[in-house]
């Protein structure tokens, strides 16, 4: 059996870890989350209920999770990578079986005291598992076909389950973050070219298997005026709201499109639009800048890390965060089809917030344990 102390305090003491914790980064996250809470306060016509207060509570819980997660030795996370992945996979299967129908798709798992979205959990655990796997491979080994079987299965199975739900947005996110791990692990370019051509060839097949509402979203994205009262309505109203905001916005709580309900889903997927309407181009750019600082910090964390697991984990988390931001922002601006992807830390949503803060905890753990060197072989652990 193993000695627990080896994982919790062999090299560093808790006080040392706390000293290494980057509090400025936490402040940055708090700033972003505060913008979200302020917008939720505005959505509710100047009320902390029903959204802003709960969102603040969740963020506070998220901060606790982040700190706790960051204190845990990176090697324990490496050790837990596969078990956590397995738990997430079981939950994904469970949601297929006993999940109830919400928003036209089975996404929620009701555990009695809490409802969680297994697909959100899976995003983090997939990166953990892939990072764990690629950690054990040399650069040459990565591109060996037999070594690709396991990570491909690790990626494809949850993607397939999420597609079944059906939740196209999350499936694409999972696939992309898996791809990112393959990429930064050093898989040769030609495989990406082959995979890219494969995806292009598969588009007609995927198209034929899409649900009607998913096809509609794509068609409406390509031509929003096609259906101004139906699916195109969301997109049109979102663009009107953003555009009418102008440079400085209509003022906090003064957004006509949002306050008069022309804007749909404004507390969740379309919250960036509301920000753009009320606080204008300036407000939008401030948020994007804050996001970009987070991304650059994450990049720095991964580059500073001396073990491959930590590097891959940090880069994977950074990219998932980036995908969230980009897909959501591009969607509300009419650059991408409408897919249900929240704006990280800002959109109202519990599982998304908590799994993100968990991921940032992992990132911070990588940062704290950046000097740790972990040998490639499995013997290093067990």
């Amino acid at each position: 059996m193993f000695d627990l102390r080896r994982f919790t305090g062999q090299e560093m003491r808790l006080t040392e870890k706390l000293a290494e914790f980057n509090w400025a980064f936490l402040l940055l996250l708090t700033l972003i989350a505060s913008i979200g809470i302020a917008m939720l306060y505005s959505v509710a016509e100047g009320s902390f209920t029903p959204w802003a207060m709960r969102q603040a509570g969740r963020f506070a819980a998220g901060v606790c999770i982040m700190i706790v997660v960051s204190m845990v030795d990176l090697r324990l996370w490496m050790r837990l990578a596969y078990p956590l992945y397995a738990v997430a996979l079981v939950m994904l299967v469970a949601v297929e079986i006993i999940g109830f129908v919400g928003m036209g798709a089975q996404r929620w798992l009701n555990l009695g005291f809490i409802s969680i979205q297994p697909s959100e959990v899976m995003k983090v655990t997939l990166i953990l598992a892939l990072a764990r796997y690629f950690h054990g491979l040399t650069l040459d080994e990565v591109s060996h076909l037999r070594n690709m079987i396991v990570p491909l299965i690790l990626t494809v199975v949850p993607v397939g389950l999420v597609v079944l739900q059906p939740d196209l947005g999350t499936a694409i996110l999972l696939l992309a973050s898996g791809g990112v791990l393959f990429f930064v692990a050093g898989l040769r370019w030609r495989y990406f070219i082959i995979a890219g051509s494969g995806v292009l060839a598969a588009i007609p097949i995927i198209w034929s298997r899409l649900h009607d509402y998913q096809r509609n979203r794509v068609l409406t994205f390509l031509e929003p005026e096609r259906d101004p009262l139906g699916t195109g309505y969301h997109l049109m109203q979102s663009k009107i709201a953003l555009g009418s905001g102008g440079v400085f916005g209509k003022g906090f709580m003064e957004g006509t499109q949002s306050q008069l309900n022309f804007l749909p889903e404004k507390h969740t997927d379309f919250i960036f639009t509301m920000l753009g309407e009320e606080l204008g181009l300036v407000g939008g750019l401030v948020l994007l800048t804050l996001y970009f600082v987070v991304l650059m910090f994450s990049l720095n964390v991964s580059l500073q890390c001396r073990n491959q697991f930590g590097r891959l984990l940090a880069m994977g988390i950074s990219m998932i965060f980036f995908f969230y931001i980009f897909i959501n922002a591009a969607m509300v601006m009419g650059l991408l089809p409408v897919v249900g992807v929240p704006l990280p830390l800002v959109s109202y949503g519990g599982t998304s917030m908590l799994s993100l803060m968990f991921a940032f905890g992992l990132l911070m753990s990588v940062h704290i344990h950046r000097h740790l060197e972990i040998s490639r072989g499995p013997s290093a652990f067990w």
């Binding site: 050093g186 102008g246 991304l295 891959l312 880069m315």
Partner: protein, 630 residues
């Protein structure tokens, strides 16, 4: 610290590729920023406009419809408050229960109940839906008192058209009613929104229709902020619009009401007009309908009864009823004869019948009148005299005179539905029937029978033109619109000789004021108020030779439909004429028996009130600020 060569190559690849991904992130953020710049700066004005269009809705406010008043400014068609109850679905937990409780105060029938539920289903839940209209004050008060128990019920006061005198003015005023699909099709584009306002009414008949535009006014508008579901959040600005203009008619309320009372129970019509200005003082058609009911929506059974009634209550008989003028036409023939050279003192012998070829034309008096001149022929209404004269001067001369006196034409009157009647000529007969004119037809035209048809309005105009000394006066119904007085047209002369006119006038005087005249019994005896008239009895059925031999049946002995029309035309005062009038009582029997007494009573009322007196013009008609009598 065991970074071996292999791990360093792994690290280098990682660093390179991470930098590449960071570059991708940077590019992606630049794309997002660029898109934001495009939407929020370059296209901002366009989207701002679209956001305003979303947010601001223009609500039309229906203007208050203008009043229609009589010549003295008394309101004939106005607006009254309409007490109603609405329901707002979102304010009651149970619509059915609320309706059930409401129906204990105001009964709501099955049909209405279904319609309310349908309306609620059709409109957003915050929109008030009408539950009951036209509540009595008691009902309205009870609804108000019980409001706490009637969740969702909203008592409300609206404006609706009101015709205080109902049937009495129905055919003149017409009525307003809901806008139909056809009305919408015919309306110009700029009116569409107003016409589509719920509850909006437009003029469908009569003056309401003719002057609909003037009465309607200009709609106001209210700019309101609405949310995505159409609920009004607040009012941003309001333009009250312009209420409709007042229409001042030439009618006199008192005379009209008196005439209506006098004709009530008959299928009849009466027209009184000013012989100089053409002002129509009274225009009655009986029976009539209640315009208020059209406004609120006639029940189907009641409407069917109106449609099927043999007395044609929906028809304005004054303008659209066409009758053979009968003996009232004899003045025209007399004047045509004088103009054609017949000396008024020329006598025609009346043995009771007149032979043409192998056909006998009968005089109404079986034994005949003996030798009569023009004066006596008019006084006694001798048919044989006019048979003889008509044949001698010919149909063309008669038709020409009939036209001069306003028959066979319409006057562009302010109430639609005017009929032209018929003044037959040989050309007309050839053109329409392809047959030659027979002399016998000229003969019966001499007593106003045959093809001749005239409306009561035309008969009044004819009489007015005789009375005013041969001027082509035309009837008018409106004195002022929206405060603008309408000018009285100077009627052009008809170019009828003084001799001819005198002959006709003297004959009419004799009819009423000389003992033995056909309407002597229905004279006005008061000095200075005497009238001059002419009776007419228009035959509806053909009297067979057999019946004539066995004695013509009395009107009382045959069914209503077969009885003769009773007509009477007159003017007064006889020596200084001012008013002309025609009365037609359908199947009334005889002119002297049925029509003359009615006409006499109405004329006496007209003369007593003298609505055309100069002081009546003192008030500026259409001036909304002056007080309203009555």
């Amino acid at each position: 610290m065991q970074i071996n060569g292999r791990d360093s190559s792994r690290y280098q690849t990682f660093t390179r590729r991470s930098a590449l991904l960071a570059g991708v992130q940077a590019v992606a953020f630049i794309v997002l920023a660029g898109r934001m710049y495009y939407l929020q700066v370059r296209k901002s004005d366009q989207y701002r406009m679209m956001a305003e269009e979303n947010r601001i809705a223009m609500r039309l406010l229906a203007p208050l419809r203008g009043n229609i008043v009589d010549r003295f400014g008394r309101v004939l068609a106005g607006n009254r408050q309409n007490y109603r109850a609405m329901i707002i679905a979102e304010q009651t937990p149970d619509v059915e229960e609320t309706l059930k409780r409401f129906s204990r105060i105001v009964p709501v029938d099955e049909f209405r109940h279904k319609r309310i539920l349908r309306d609620i289903a059709r409109s957003p839940r915050f929109m008030p839906v009408t539950v009951a209209e036209d509540l009595t004050w008691d009902q309205f008060a009870q609804v108000n008192i019980n409001e706490p128990d009637l969740a969702g019920i909203l008592p409300d006061v609206g404006e609706t058209r009101d015709y205080p005198y109902g049937e009495e003015f129905a055919h003149v005023l017409g009525y307003v009613a809901s806008v139909s699909e056809r009305d919408l099709e015919n309306a110009p584009r700029e009116d569409q929104r107003l016409l589509r306002l719920p509850g909006f009414r437009i003029g469908k008949e009569g003056v309401e229709k003719t002057y609909d535009r003037e009465l309607r006014g200009m709609p106001g508008s209210s700019h309101v902020e609405v949310n995505a579901y159409g609920r009004v959040i607040r009012e941003l600005s309001k333009d009250p619009g312009k209420p409709g203009g007042e229409v001042v008619l030439t009618l006199d309320l008192d005379v009209q009401r008196f005439a209506w009372e006098r004709l009530r129970g008959e299928s009849a019509s009466a027209v009184v007009m000013d012989i100089h200005s053409g002002d129509v003082i009274s225009l009655v058609s009986a029976p009539a309908y209640d315009p208020n009911q059209f406004n609120m929506g006639y029940g189907t059974a009641e409407y069917k009864a109106l449609l099927e009634s043999p007395y044609l209550p929906l028809m304005n008989k004054s303008l659209a009823g066409m009758y053979p003028p009968g003996s009232t036409f004899k003045m025209v023939v007399a004047m045509a004869a004088v103009e054609a050279g017949v000396d008024p003192s020329h006598r025609v012998s009346c043995p009771g019948h007149y032979s043409l070829g192998n056909h006998d034309f009968h005089c109404w008096k079986k034994g005949g009148h003996g030798a009569v001149n023009l004066h006596e022929a008019l006084k006694h209404s001798c048919d044989v005299y006019f048979y003889d004269v008509a044949r001698r001067i010919g149909i063309t001369a008669i038709a020409e005179m009939a036209r001069k006196f306003g028959l066979g034409q319409t006057y562009d009157f302010e109430v639609s539905g005017e009929k032209a009647g018929l003044v037959p000529t040989p050309e007309w007969k050839r053109a329409t029937r392809g047959e030659v004119w027979h002399q016998g037809e000229t003969v019966i035209a001499g007593i106003g029978q045959g093809y001749l048809l005239a409306t009561p309005l035309q008969l009044a105009v004819m009489t007015a033109r005789i009375a005013n000394g041969g001027f082509a006066v035309t009837p008018r119904l409106t004195r002022a619109i929206g405060g603008q007085l309408l000018p009285v047209k100077e009627p052009p002369p008809l170019n009828v000789s003084e001799r001819a006119l005198r002959a006709a006038q003297n004959g009419m005087n004799a009819v009423s004021n000389e003992a033995g005249g056909t309407a002597y019994r229905s004279r006005i005896a008061e000095p200075g108020l005497e009238l001059a008239g002419k009776t007419g009895t228009a035959q509806v059925r053909r009297i067979s030779r057999a019946e004539r031999l066995s004695g013509v049946l009395r009107n009382e002995d045959i069914e209503w439909r077969q009885r003769d029309h009773a007509l009477f035309v007159c003017y007064a005062p006889v020596h200084e004429p001012r008013y002309a009038m025609s009365v037609v009582i359908e199947h009334g029997g005889s002119g002297s028996g049925a029509a003359a007494p009615v006409a006499r009573d109405i004329m006496r009322e007209v003369l007593t009130r003298n609505p055309a007196r100069p002081q009546a013009r003192g008030r500026v008609p259409g001036d909304n600020n002056s007080s309203r009598a009555g």
